[in-house]
């Protein structure tokens, strides 16, 4: 089984949960002996782990025929792609893409991020897909998230192979309902053209069915999993007098940071031995600093700014409680990461991961009373902490990407027929 996947991010250079999920899923699927995955991303850095799949950088795929010497190609892109492959892919150019600005190799310069001209990058990605669809051999096309749907659809039209799309989020999650019509249009076209749609949670599945009018039979939930931490024992918890309650993530409307501040305020009215940490950055950060000051809890409420890599797990491991009051979260991988390092977790019922977790406290995102109650209970009751910690580790260690991979495979098999 050969799968051609279109993604946007791949570790180690990631900006959000999409990259982590892409990595975990492909790694889990690669354990199936007959699975070959080619993963396309806009701009690889050359340090991606390619031991279990093949990565193609869209920025190295020629879409306009240019004559170049082997040495020049090697000099320009040798770090991320073999020159022979470049020349071979060049034979796949069947359409005239001179309207697109290309470099000396006939390739498009992708940023690989989420720039202002994102729409242009998305359509350029489509051009790259056409070349790959003509030249590569594959049985199925798998597109991760809306940015790559047009590429997947085009590849399907060219090759006639079935297309499955993987919905990691919809615009309804990102915008609290204020949907961008252009994005909605791209998402809807992708879903309409797909042979099957995978969603990361039942929550997202419902959105896809209700808001994008897809037939329920065509939509299947494949919950995300979490990669085991190889150095899990290296994260330790320092003994300290005060308990630490942590919010970690982008400080944006979607993540519900204000509910965290309000819950903190409630807890601090009753007990002082707790400190609250808001880790991350985002457009609501200043508003949150203001709010904490207004509630008079700034002495116990701390901001860390953006954390990355190891710092994330260190922060989680040092915490007594991790809380994710997201207003709308298609899946939400970070509670699972917190549980990996043994930190009890409170999540909103509006998070996809709530569907698969038992040993986490679930509250409505707006229910600050329940949230405060849960925080208080965990920091005051050792039995509560211990149960959530021990049973949580056990639970999360059994959520494996391999199993998610098997579900994806079953969907592949059903659409290939």
């Amino acid at each position: 089984m050969k799968a051609l996947m279109f993604g946007w991010e791949f570790p180690p250079h990631i900006l959000g949960g999409l990259g982590t999920a892409s990595y975990g899923l492909t790694k889990g699927m690669s354990l199936q002996p007959d699975m070959q995955i080619t993963f396309v991303i806009p701009k690889p850095h050359g340090d991606e782990d390619q031991s279990f799949l093949k990565i193609i950088g869209a920025c190295n795929v020629p879409v306009v025929w240019k004559d170049n010497s082997w040495e020049h190609v090697s000099y320009r892109i040798g770090k991320t792609m073999h020159p022979d492959e470049y020349f071979w892919l060049r034979n796949g150019i069947k359409y005239d893409f001179h309207r697109i600005y290309t470099n000396d190799l006939g390739c498009i310069d992708f940023s690989g991020r989420y720039p202002d001209n994102l729409m242009e990058e998305i359509s350029n990605y489509e051009a790259v897909a056409s070349v790959l669809a003509h030249q590569l051999e594959f049985d199925i096309i798998h597109s991760h998230d809306w940015l790559t749907y047009p590429a997947g659809v085009f590849a399907k039209q060219i090759s006639g192979k079935p297309l499955v799309i993987h919905v990691h989020a919809t615009d309804f999650d990102r915008s609290r309902g204020q949907v961008n019509p252009i994005v909605y249009d791209i998402e809807k076209r992708g879903m309409d053209a797909a042979d099957h749609i995978m969603t990361v949670s039942d929550l997202t599945r419902r959105t896809v069915i209700e808001k994008y009018h897809q037939h329920p039979d065509k939509v299947t939930t494949v919950h995300n999993a979490v990669e085991p931490l190889p150095d899990v024992d290296s994260f330790t918890k320092t003994a300290r007098k005060d308990k630490i309650v942590t919010f970690l993530g982008r400080i944006t409307m979607q993540k519900g940071p204000e509910y965290f501040v309000e819950a903190a305020h409630l807890v601090l009215q009753k007990t002082r031995g707790v400190r609250f940490v808001m880790a991350g950055s985002g457009d609501m950060m200043n508003a949150m600093i203001d709010l904490a000051a207004k509630r008079g809890i700034s002495d116990r409420f701390h901001f860390t700014g953006f954390l990355k890599g190891r710092q994330v797990h260190e922060m989680l491991a040092e915490s007594d409680v991790y809380i994710m009051p997201s207003v709308s979260e298609p899946f939400g991988i970070s509670p699972l990461e917190a549980m990996q390092v043994g930190t009890p977790t409170i999540i909103s019922k509006q998070s996809g991961c709530a569907e698969i977790l038992t040993h986490a406290i679930k509250t409505d995102y707006w229910d600050i009373d329940a949230m405060a109650d849960a925080i208080y209970s965990i920091v005051k009751n050792p039995a509560m902490y211990k149960s959530l910690r021990e049973l949580g580790i056990e639970e999360v260690n059994n959520i494996k990407w391999y199993d998610a991979g098997l579900k994806v495979r079953a969907i592949y098999d059903s659409v290939i027929r």
């Binding site: 009753k270 009373d369 849960a374 209970s377 021990e390």
Partner: protein
Amino acid sequence: MRNISFYFQIHQPMRLKRYRFFDIGKDPYYYDDFQTEERIRKVVEQTYLPANRTIAEMIRSSNGKFKCSFAVSGIAIEQLEQYAPEVIDSFKELSKTGSVEFLAEPYAHSLSSVFDAGEFERQVKMHSDKIEELFGKRPSTFYNSELIYSDQIGEAVSKMGYKSVLIDEAKNIMGWKSPDYIYKHAYLPKLKLLIRNHKLSDDIAFRFSQHMLTAEKFINWIAALPAGENIINLGMGYEVLGTINSANSGIFEFFKALPYHGMEQQMNFVLPSEFIKKTEAVDTLSVTYPMSWVGNDKDLTPWTGNDLQQEALQKLYEKSDRVKLCNDKPLQHDWLMLQSSDHFRYMSHKDPFGTNYDSAYEAFMNYMNVLADFRDRVDAQYPTTIENEELNELLKTIDNQEKEIEVLRNELTNLKARKAKKDA
């Protein structure tokens, strides 16, 4: 001769209301009356009243030959008195027929038999008093909450004067032995054990529709048991009639037909207290660790299996001594209500039967908030700076003083009387 002994458990917990940690110290009322009333009204209409009518009819139509017993917890009685006194009346009617026996159990349907021997004794007495007050006869057969039993519990029960105990059939204690005989306590031969026939009981309780069970079929099963097996104990929640098996399933008709088919095959329906008088035990049974009637393992894990439950139970029962020193009525009442085994069952991750919480953690959080308030109230009665023993001593002194005064007063009156005699 085959003898059949039916018994039914009736218990409904007082549901706790949503009690947040900010309520601690502010709100001493813990119960969700609306939910409790709604539940009790529902079960009264679906089960208690129609089932009592059915039993009454069975007794009438069999000329008093049909007999069965009831284990009604103190908490259930309180709720019935408050929300459905007609059920109490109907039990009184049943009691008058003489074909019905009420069993003794801890008042609060609690786990006190395992955690607090003193409290256990107090609750059993309290419950027997209540039953005697309502139905005019003191129970002599013991039915522990959830059929929890061990040699130790048996010993305590025997000391309180009960003649027999109902327990469940568990493979690890019964081995090859049949439940259909009378057994006796490991080292107190006077205490007889009646073993619930687990399979036949659950055939009615949980597999009634699946088996498309008829009274004839069921009685034939009993008739087909090996000769010599003389007592078939069939124990179940009373909700089996009408709630677990709805009225449409034909469960009431099934019961109504039982006496006829039973007597046709020369079977007797008996009450435990009567039957043990005329029958000797065939063997002893030793139960080292407490067992119950729940699950495959028949142990206490549904209530005490995880850290949350252990913590809650420990935090509850460590206040036991102090509560007993208090004479604040509402506090005493809360003490009973908080002991109900259901609260701990809801904290089970695997088997939270009948829970009204989304998860074990929520059950625990809510209960612990309530308990925190309760503990504060207990501590407010007597300062925590005084150790329990010291407090006990003080109270004993006060108590003794009273007795002393009483003695002296008696002496005084005696002397006065004597003097009066002399003078005369």
